[in-house]
């Protein structure tokens, strides 16, 4: 009898999963993994002969597995709680905060990004006085001596200082932040806790940023990028954004959307795949924000990654124009076609994570089309 039960239960699992997978409509997107899911490949003679059908079917079968999220959660729980691993796919939780291991220090990546910064300086910024760079610490920087694998950020600063031209000054943000200034489920910093960063940058750039009074607005269902990667059941974050007369009146445009005015805070992104994309048009090649309330004529150009999206609205009070350039999506040589370099302040602001994994930044001369298609959704 027990043999029959063993056989029937085994077959029941195989056939139940088989039928569930065959009968279900495939999902197009994974909300939590923030990516498109593989679809059923077309069965063709070419595909069968070349093997493409088989490799595509492998992807399809895994991506479209019924209860995929629940399986991923089971794996994460088993890895962390049963096998007692300290991380699951590099993701770990400490005091309710999700972290992703970024290790070891990659000096060649740091050099690559620094060389791109130097190239941009040579192309457009030679002779400008106010050119700086900064490293945005990722939240692991505040996990020293925790027993987890953490980069040597001092070495990263030293390496960058060695690679970057002397004409480009450095503004350190490491002392301006603490662990509480980051989202629990996301890699990014919290906009409402960036006053120290704004002060440090203003001091470094010699800018006067006198903010209009902010009103805090809240979105309490922010599932950050680490939420999906962790596959664990974690409470969502509260995403707070700061609204003021300045942000209400700023005129934001993107060269990718000619003629369109973009809100500083795009509320339609809240609850979408990446709510953090609500800031300043989200991932975009070149975005310009005009502040009609500032008549100084002073401009700021930020060569940046996503951290600057939530920071830049707070810098608006000090400038008439802020231009955000993301070299992951536009080639350095093409920037001059869209941005006029005069006497603006210039800040290269990149996260420590990007310094350490700078593959996504366009190397000079590596690309001919003006904009790079963004693989990431949202």
């Amino acid at each position: 009898m027990i043999n029959k039960i063993t056989v029937i239960s085994f077959l029941a699992v195989l056939f139940t999963v088989f039928f569930l997978n065959v009968l279900r409509d495939p999902d197009e997107l994974s909300f939590f993994e923030r990516r498109r899911l593989a679809q059923m490949p077309e069965l063709t003679a070419d595909g069968l002969l070349s093997g493409k059908f088989m490799s595509d079917f492998d992807d399809f079968a895994v991506d479209q597995m019924m209860f995929r999220e629940q399986y991923r959660r089971l794996k994460a729980v088993f890895d962390l709680n049963v096998l007692r691993k300290l991380d699951n796919n590099g993701i770990f939780i400490r005091n309710g905060m999700v972290f992703k291991t970024e290790y070891p220090l990659n000096e060649s990546s740091i050099r690559r990004l620094c060389e791109t910064i130097n190239t941009v300086h040579s192309l457009y910024l030679d002779g400008l006085d106010n050119v700086y760079y900064t490293i945005v610490p990722d939240k692991n920087a505040y996990l020293q001596n925790s027993g987890h694998l953490v980069l040597d950020y001092g070495r990263m600063e030293d390496a960058a200082r060695g690679f970057i031209k002397d004409e480009i000054g450095y503004i350190s943000l490491f002392g301006a932040l603490s662990l509480e200034d980051y989202f629990r489920t996301d890699s990014h910093w919290r906009q409402e806790r960036l006053s120290g960063v704004v002060d440090a940058l203003a001091a470094g750039l010699g800018a006067v940023i006198d903010p209009k009074p902010y009103a805090e607005q809240h979105f309490d269902r922010f599932y950050g990028v680490y939420y999906g990667q962790s596959a664990l059941n974690i409470d969502p974050d509260d995403l707070t954004y700061l609204v003021s007369e300045t942000t209400d009146n700023a005129v934001v445009t993107s060269v990718e959307k000619p003629g369109e005015i973009i809100p500083v805070y795009d509320l339609t992104q809240l609850g979408a795949m990446d709510s953090y994309s609500m800031f300043m048009g989200g991932p975009a090649a070149i975005v310009t924000a005009q502040n009609p309330q500032n008549s100084s004529g002073r401009g700021l150009i930020l060569f940046r990654d996503s951290y600057a999206s939530s920071l830049s609205p707070l810098l608006l009070d000090g400038y008439s124009t802020i231009t955000l350039v993301d070299l992951r999506y536009v080639n350095p040589e093409m920037v001059g076609e869209f941005v006029e370099f005069t006497n603006q302040d210039v800040l290269f602001i990149y996260s420590a994570t990007l310094f350490n994994t700078s593959d996504s930044v366009r190397a000079p001369g590596a690309f001919v089309s003006p904009f790079v298609a963004r693989g990431r959704i949202g």
């Binding site: 027990i2 043999n3 029959k4 039960i5 063993t6 056989v7 239960s9 085994f10 077959l11 699992v13 195989l14 056939f15 999963v17 088989f18 997978n21 002969l49 093997g51 088989m54 079917f57 492998d58 079968a61 895994v62 597995m65 995929r68 399986y71 991923r72 089971l74 794996k75 994460a76 088993f78 096998l83 007692r84 691993k85 300290l86 991380d87 796919n89 290790y103 070891p104 027993g147 987890h148 694998l149 596959a231």
Partner: protein
């Protein structure tokens, strides 16, 4: 196709079971053959023709051997089979190794061929070759039905990573085998356990091994972690695959011989090899060692026989010098054991015997893992603290803490303790019903956990595929 993949588990296997078990018994070998060809084609595409060619060649040759038994033609046919199989194996597996060595010795620059190594070629060429040899020796009757023979050669449960199933083992089962609930239940349980060994233990240890090797921040602990993780990874990977093969075979009525028997509990290296990859050891003993005279020759020839067998064993594992050195290393150890050490080993405490075996085996895996002689030397120096690195650093301490429990589980799982406990429970009248009732529950829970790992993981081939 991989056993440890969603397409195999939840697409191929259900469809195969339906087709196989709904067909009349006489048609089941044809279903098995077609399924095996699809299984192989899925991963290897055109190389399925090589598999078919190998089957047709040895099927035909065995009939010729039978027809001309006792005549020179039979011997000639056997030679064609042996040479043909060795040429196939040599061309696809060793071409670049030979060319590289010719270039190195003679200073030539012959271009490498970069031939794709067809999966399982080392296993199926050995199986078909041994079949023809057995027919020639009169130890096996030639299979007249080409479909039955092809089903034996291509049988997907053991096609790509063994065990090396000799024809004699399954000859009767090919034509007449029983499909029972008991066999199916045992096979399913064995298959799931093997899958668990591969997916939960071997793959996790593989992560540790890779992390340790890739680290630019070495320590003595890292050297040890990497090699111990690799040794256990290979064991759980390969023995897990053998469990799956034996389990799947049992589900469809075949009984393959065991391939592993807890090798790490061995108290001599000779015993270790009686417990590790048994089907390969048996093959080399039957078809090389004994034909050379085995140990019934002069001491000098006996040593030569051991050297030949272990040279070939090393070469079989891979087309690189480190594998040959690895084989010869064991050849030397086994010779020393047989000539001098066996008596000493019997006298020393049991724990020392185990320590002796573990040291020999751990060092062997350094040779097995690293392709260059310089790399092996450097690694061994690192293990004994001669590489100017700290004993422990924060990185190695992190990995030890992170993978420590898996390592303990693996060490525990490499011993028969758990199996003995379960067996004892099954013999106890009070515990037997509980143990039996828990089997299907255990299977399903384990299968779901394994599935979770497969859903979360990327492509991860079996290590022994490359052999």
């Amino acid at each position: 196709m991989l056993f440890s993949s969603i397409p195999f588990l939840f697409y191929f296997l259900p469809v195969f079971f339906v087709l196989y078990f709904t067909m009349p018994i006489k048609a089941r070998n044809v279903v098995l053959l077609l399924a095996s060809l699809i299984f192989y084609y899925y991963g290897e595409r055109g190389y399925v023709l090589l598999l078919v060619f190998s089957s047709v060649m040895d099927y035909t040759i065995s009939l010729i051997v039978e027809k001309y038994r006792g005549k020179p033609a039979a011997k000639a046919a056997l030679l064609v089979s042996v040479i043909g199989n060795l040429l196939i194996l040599g061309f696809f597996k060793y071409s670049d190794f030979f060319i590289g060595n010719i270039n190195a010795v003679f200073g030539t620059s012959l271009p490498l061929l970069h031939i794709h190594l067809p999966l399982g070629i080392s296993f199926y060429t050995f199986q078909t070759m041994s079949y023809t040899i057995d027919v020639y020796r009169g130890q096996a009757r030639p299979q007249k039905n080409p479909f039955d023979f092809a089903a034996y050669v291509t049988m997907f449960p053991q096609l790509v990573a063994g065990p090396i199933v000799r024809y004699q083992t399954v000859a009767d089962q090919l034509t007449s085998r029983k499909h029972t609930w008991e066999g199916f239940a045992y096979g399913a349980t064995r298959f799931i356990i093997g899958l668990g060994k591969k997916v939960l233990i071997a793959n996790t240890l593989g992560e540790l091994n890779q992390a340790a090797l890739a680290s630019g921040n070495k320590s003595v602990l890292f050297y040890w972690l990497a090699v111990v993780a690799f040794m256990l990874q290979i064991y759980f990977d390969f023995s897990g695959y053998s469990d799956m093969a034996i389990g799947l075979g049992r589900i469809i009525g075949f009984r393959f011989l065991e391939n592993f028997n807890y090798p790490f509990i061995a108290r001599s290296v000779s015993e270790f090899w009686q417990r590790w990859h048994i089907s390969m050891g048996t093959w080399f003993r039957e078809y090389i060692y004994i034909p050379l005279g085995g140990n019934r020759v002069s001491k000098l020839k006996w040593v030569r026989n051991i050297a030949v067998v272990w040279f070939v064993t090393g070469l079989w594992h891979g087309a690189a010098w480190n594998f040959i050195i690895w084989g010869l290393y064991f050849g030397v150890i086994l010779t020393l054991e047989k000539l001098f050490l066996s008596n000493w080993l019997k006298k020393i405490p049991r724990i020392t015997q185990h320590l002796y075996v573990m040291v020999i085996v751990i060092f062997s895996f350094v040779i097995f893992h690293l392709e260059s002689v310089a790399g092996i030397t450097e690694y061994l120096k690192g293990m004994v603290g001669l590489m100017d690195v700290p004993a422990v650093n924060s990185e190695s301490a992190y990995y030890l803490r992170s993978y420590g429990f898996v390592l303990i589980l693996a060490v525990f799982g490499a011993t028969p303790v758990l199996k003995n406990l379960v067996n004892r429970a099954k013999l106890n009248p009070k515990l037997q019903p509980v143990a039996e009732a828990l089997t299907p529950v255990f299977n399903i829970v384990l299968l779901l956990i394994i599935t979770a790992y497969l859903v979360d993981s990327s492509f991860n081939p079996f290590l022994y595929f490359r052999f």
